[in-house]
């Protein structure tokens, strides 16, 4: 882990991030309830515990930058500013969803905001992000591309073939991509040490001559500080970079992961002490910028916003039958 000069983040920004983290948490909890009530179908992968990583990184890029995500994509989409109602409506399979209800939880897109989507096959989107980064430089822009994926994807061929291309194209300044490894310690139920011959995942990018480092993924300020420096460098050089953010999901892998035989309650409890919301809350309380009343206000605001999203999703119509045949081919 490298230690750079700390960036002073204004208290107003920290407060905004706190509100965002609380809101995302309440949103994800709501999706779990809606899933249990049968309102949401298919797979549901929530990012409870991991929220600081997308928030820190997506706060460090420009509105015209782009990103690709795995199927654990709700928080990325929300923090990028996509209307929460349309996100919930997508999970509900409604016409008002981000993808007209045709993608669902794993495939949230908002191309107008540079969100090139959530993808359902582990590692499968990583080559896309590398090509997208090439396209940005080919078109002569200084935009960058972020590519988020979990520790599980580190063992897929897609990651390694894509990283090699990024290393190659980066030599010419043609691949401004940041690989963001959201290391939540488990690929579904298999721990990193049971899955990866090298447990320090960042170091595996050395094989492709891609600079890399680890960061604390439970502290949004720590994530942001690394992200800002790395994004600036990648924008300047057109070379790839990899950051392994150490994080944890408090929820199960998916909605069906009820008993979690692969980990202990004590382990989860230990990580909960570093809940990204608590970490930021402590920081704000120490700065005198947050008190009990303010916390209650944020909670009430977040809950209300989540319920508005649910109402929008509930009242949005189902996609009409003709949507079945749309969007298969272009003009």
């Amino acid at each position: 882990m490298q230690h750079a000069e700390p960036i002073t983040v204004p208290v107003d920004t920290l407060l905004e991030w706190y509100r965002t983290l609380v809101f995302c948490r309440r949103f994800e909890e709501q999706t779990e309830r809606s899933f249990r009530r049968g309102k949401i179908g298919g797979y549901l992968h929530v990012a409870i515990g991991q929220e600081a990583v997308p928030l820190g990184f997506l706060s460090a890029i420009r509105p015209d930058d782009v990103f690709f995500v795995s199927y654990r994509d709700h928080v990325h989409t929300l923090v990028r500013g996509t209307d929460p109602g349309t996100v919930m409506a997508e999970l509900y399979g409604k016409l008002g969803g981000t993808c007209k209800g045709k993608g669902g939880s794993m495939h949230l897109f908002d191309v107008a905001r540079g969100n090139y989507g959530g993808y359902g096959i582990v590692g499968g989107h990583i080559p896309l992000a590398v090509g997208a980064a090439y396209a940005l430089r080919y078109q002569g822009t200084d935009q960058v591309c972020l590519c988020f994926f979990g520790d599980g994807a580190m063992n897929s061929g897609a990651l390694h073939e894509a990283a090699n291309l990024a290393g190659l194209w980066g030599r010419e300044g043609l691949c401004p991509v940041v690989f963001v490894v959201e290391n939540n310690q488990y690929g579904m139920g298999t721990s990193v040490e049971r899955a990866s011959a090298v447990v320090e995942l960042a170091r595996r990018f050395d094989a492709y001559d891609i600079p890399n480092e680890r960061c604390d993924g439970m502290d949004v300020v720590a994530v942001y500080e690394v992200a800002r420096r790395v994004v600036e460098e990648v924008r300047r050089t057109g070379r790839p970079y990899a950051v392994e953010a150490l994080t944890y999901r408090f929820s199960g892998h998916g909605a069906a992961d009820l008993f979690q035989p692969y980990r202990t309650k004590q382990e989860v409890e230990r990580w909960r002490q570093r809940d990204p919301i608590l970490v930021l809350e402590r920081r704000l309380r120490e700065a005198g910028a947050l008190d009990d009343e303010a916390v209650r206000e944020v909670e009430a605001w977040a809950e209300k916003r989540v319920q508005e999203a649910v109402s929008f999703a509930e009242s949005s119509p189902e996609p009409p039958p003709e949507e079945l045949y749309r969007d298969v081919y272009g003009a």
Partner: protein, 324 residues
């Protein structure tokens, strides 16, 4: 009209479209410095530079996936696969990303990507390098699948592919690169999903595509000497599939033989035969015959390989059977 080879038709179309549209760029193994395994990209690295003619490592999953990402961001990449056999490591990218991302994004993105290279068998390359993947790719909605048999169609279909908003599986054939034929000049295009009646006849419809078209035409010549007039239809596109042209022909001839190089089960010929039964059952005077590759991996030995794939005689015999 200009007389040129299938290879020249492909290469000149790439040049014309790259001159016209700076979004078109090429990726593939040994397409630049080496000039291309089948020399389709000869001279293009010098002409367009390494940013537009990208020599890739042997890493199909990586560079086909990257090409999809380029297409999502508005470029028009053309990937050369050295042979279609090498597309299989990238099947996840082609089938799970390129074919479907428009759909699961609710229409927010397009993948204007062309993947081209030789498909098929017949040149003693044995099991791993001799197979026809058209029904494999043709199965997936979201892809366009074309297989030109002539220099003119190579040009016309490639130009349409390069201007398409969809991912196109462009199936060439190694045995056809050297064949010559007249090619219309100018901005010539052939639309997807349009079969062509390449030889009119009234006794039987013979449906084929790619290398099999040439065998079907040779069989038709032989049968003509016996007084049998075959109508030969070149499908040209597998997806979309032009069953209208096929059915229109079968309604006149009342008999059909469908030819494919690939294995019989779940193949293009089965699809075409089923389409004929659905549309022209009452017009048929005989069951539809299929002529296909044998249901075995491709052997190396010349004599065995000859047995494994359709030839003119087998097509002629199938025609005689439907005429009995």
């Amino acid at each position: 009209m200009t007389e040129m080879t299938y290879r020249e038709a492909l290469r000149s179309t790439l040049v014309e479209e790259m001159d016209r549209d700076p979004r078109v760029l090429l990726l593939g193994e040994d397409i630049g410095v080496y000039q291309g395994t089948f020399r389709i990209t000869e001279g293009l690295l010098d002409r367009y530079g390494p940013k537009r003619v990208i020599d890739t490592p042997i890493s199909e999953l990586g560079f086909i996936g990257a090409a999809i990402g380029m297409a999502l961001l508005g470029l028009r990449p053309v990937v050369e696969v050295m042979t279609w056999n090498f597309s299989l490591p990238a099947a996840d990218q082609i089938l799970q990303n390129a074919a479907k991302v428009r759909y699961f994004s609710g229409g927010q993105v397009s993948v204007p990507l062309v993947i081209r290279g030789p498909n098929g068998a017949g040149v003693q390359l044995s099991a791993q390098h001799s197979q026809s993947l058209e029904s494999f790719y043709g199965h997936f909605p979201g892809l366009r699948v074309v297989a030109p048999a002539t220099p003119a169609d190579a040009k016309g279909l490639l130009r349409t592919a390069l201007r398409s908003e969809d991912p196109v599986i462009f199936l060439e054939h190694a045995a056809l690169y050297g064949i010559k034929g007249p090619v219309p000049d100018g901005d010539y295009t052939v639309p997807f999903g349009q079969a062509a009646v390449v030889r009119p006849g009234r006794h039987v419809t013979v449906v084929a595509y790619s290398r099999m078209l040439h065998l079907a035409l040779a069989a038709a010549d032989e049968l003509a000497r016996e007084g049998v007039e075959c109508e030969v239809v070149d499908l040209r596109s597998l997806r979309p599939l032009d069953m209208d042209t096929v059915a229109e022909s079968v309604r006149r001839t009342h008999r059909a033989v469908v030819v494919q190089e690939q294995w019989p089960l779940f193949g293009a010929a089965a699809e075409v035969a089923a389409g004929i039964y659905e549309r022209c059952f009452d017009d048929l005077d005989a069951p539809v015959e299929r002529v296909t590759g044998e249901d075995v991996p491709a052997p190396y030995a010349r004599n065995l390989e000859k047995l494994a794939f359709p030839d003119e005689d087998r097509i002629a015999r199938a025609v005689r059977r439907v005429l009995q």
